[in-house]
């Protein structure tokens, strides 16, 4: 026993080296499969075929088709972010402050955890099965209420249909993130406001919403980024009929269109830029929110 104890101090030195070896795989992995690819894109956006630094790739972004693709993406992401925030907030408020039984709150949070991951191809299929031409709800509305959805011009394979589908994972994400913030609203604040003469509405206007707004705005940014990068759902739902930015990139990569890798770089770079800014806004606002509610 004494020999192993005495030898421990000496073993400390190689141990330090060994520790570095412990984290090395991670950094190697991150470099090879995260940092380098991203850097390649970011740098490639500013290089032409000869390897010279240029802005002409970014110039290609100004082409009308590309511009409109980005514009549609931004519209879609903004719409689903705002609606996701609104509806998610109402549901979260209902389960935290609405006086509903606790098991219901837990059930809804669990469901939100699952639903926020239920994106992509299966989600698109589910919505086609529900609101497609022969979908469950479409048929229901026709047979029970006499409402002809498709006759009125509705189509699930459209901007609106895609937005409706996106909400399925946007709203739960909002619920998951904003519930802790709502539960952080201390009961005493409301009571203090009441004792000082404030009505419920005044409490919300003067105290609760101001305290919540960094979280609300931050989550809006997060939802925006979330929607912007989504592509599998769109492809499965609309094929390539709706040109959103990720689908244009997808086509570029696959070589479906005239293969111009530098356009691909530019589009990818613009996407990274937008999502990075949105995420930065989210993080900054979250730090602000946490500072107040120590």
């Amino acid at each position: 026993m004494t020999t192993s104890v005495a030898s421990l101090p000496a073993a400390f030195k190689p141990r330090q080296v060994l520790s570095w070896l412990g984290v090395a795989p991670f950094f190697l992995f991150a470099t090879l499969f995260l940092i380098l690819p991203t850097l390649n894109i970011v740098l490639g956006a500013f290089r032409n075929a000869e390897g010279q630094v240029t802005l002409e790739n970014l110039g290609k972004l100004l082409a009308p088709s590309i511009r409109s693709a980005f514009w549609i993406s931004i519209e879609l992401s903004l719409l689903t972010a705002v609606l996701g925030c609104l509806f998610g907030f109402l549901i979260a408020a209902a389960i935290t402050l609405g006086g509903l039984p606790r098991p219901l709150r837990n059930a809804i949070l669990t469901f939100s955890g699952v639903a926020s991951n239920f994106a992509g191809v299966p989600l698109a299929f589910a919505f086609i099965a529900t609101l497609g031409r022969l979908g469950f709800v479409t048929m229901l509305l026709r047979h029970w209420f006499g409402i002809n959805l498709y006759g009125a011009g509705f189509n699930i394979v459209s901007f609106l249909g895609l937005a409706l589908t996106y909400l399925y994972f946007q709203i739960p994400l909002m619920v998951l993130i904003i519930t802790p913030a709502l539960e952080g609203l201390r009961r005493e604040w409301r009571e203090a406001a009441e004792s000082l003469g404030a009505s419920g509405f005044q409490y919300w206007r003067l105290v609760a919403l101001p305290v919540l707004w960094p979280s609300l705005l931050g989550t809006l940014a997060l939802l925006f980024a979330n929607a912007f990068g989504a592509v599998a759902t769109a492809i499965a739902l609309t094929g390539s009929s709706l040109s959103i930015a990720p689908i244009v990139l997808f086509a570029q990569i696959r070589g479906d269109v005239l293969n111009d890798p530098h356009l691909g770089y530019a589009i990818a770079f613009a996407m990274i830029l937008l999502t990075a800014i949105a995420n930065a806004i989210y993080i900054l606002l979250r730090m602000r929110a946490e500072r107040w509610v120590k």
């Binding site: 520790s19 390649n40 209902a94 990818a268 990075a276």
Partner: protein, 262 residues
């Protein structure tokens, strides 16, 4: 008070309607393959389809390998950062959050540019290389969830004391990690594992752009060519996601009891 409760129930009811209808619709549609009433015909067709079996099996294997890789990379990292290099924490956390910031389509684009046939590591050139690339790509996508789960788990046990106790008894690093640390964060690792499984099973973008025949592209192909089978597939995918989440909940609740007893 009761007026508030009325509005709350209304909000929950409307939300419930929106979220349950697609599930109902998906299930209903999947049962309608036979013209005369409900049947599991679509499921029968799908499950018997050799392509389904092949792609689904392939995705399952891929998911399991991703989980294994994820554990091998994340557990030692989280452990050493916590124990020895607390200063590295912000960097590591930033890196683990990058896959959530950078859209996956951009990441796979980067892979194709770097690891194509004319580069130093021509992974896309061979079957083995492409699958390896896909594996690492999925490990990257699941990194945030895996790291967060494991880190949370490590936070609850005193790894400093456990390590010193093991060292004083003569254990080396590998043994410490495998025999002392891993079993104690088993539940957290499982959470991360189930999330990874759910992500990998239905993943489309990586697989499609790297031309791999996994479950995701198979589903999209079905969506373009069949009417009823896609809904059945969606039900299967949804059931798997639910099962994964459900198992996470089950295991976390199970572990609460075991830690209390300790």
């Amino acid at each position: 008070m009761t007026e508030r409760r009325l509005w709350s129930w209304l909000a929950v009811a409307l939300g419930g309607l929106y979220f349950l209808l697609p599930l109902v619709g998906m299930f209903d549609f999947s049962m309608r393959m036979q013209r005369d009433g409900y049947s599991f015909e679509a499921y029968r067709v799908v499950l018997a389809d050799p392509q389904f079996q092949q792609t689904f099996g392939y995705s399952v294997v891929l998911a399991l390998l991703t989980i294994a890789l994820g554990i091998l990379i994340v557990v030692p990292t989280a452990y050493f950062v916590r124990l020895r290099f607390p200063g590295l924490r912000p960097i590591v956390e930033f890196l683990t959050l990058l896959p959530l910031v950078i859209p996956p389509i951009v990441i796979v684009f980067g892979y194709i540019r770097i690891y194509n046939t004319s580069s130093a590591l021509p992974l896309t050139g061979s079957w083995w290389g492409t699958n390896l690339l896909l594996l690492f790509g999925y490990a990257t996508l699941s990194l945030p969830y895996m790291y967060r789960s494991v880190d949370t788990g490590l936070r609850t046990i005193d790894i400093g004391s456990l390590t010193e106790a093991a060292q004083s008894l003569g254990a080396g690093w590998a043994r410490i990690l495998a025999v002392v640390i891993l079993p104690n964060v088993f539940v957290s690792v499982l959470s991360g594992a189930f999330l990874t499984f759910a992500i990998v099973i239905g993943e489309y973008v990586f697989a499609a752009l790297l031309n791999v025949g996994s479950f995701g592209p198979y589903m999209v192909w079905m969506g373009g060519n069949r009417a009823y089978e896609p809904s059945a597939l969606a039900v299967v995918a949804f059931a798997i996601t639910w099962a994964c989440m459900g198992l996470i909940q089950l295991f976390t609740r199970f572990s609460k009891f075991s830690t209390v007893r300790r």
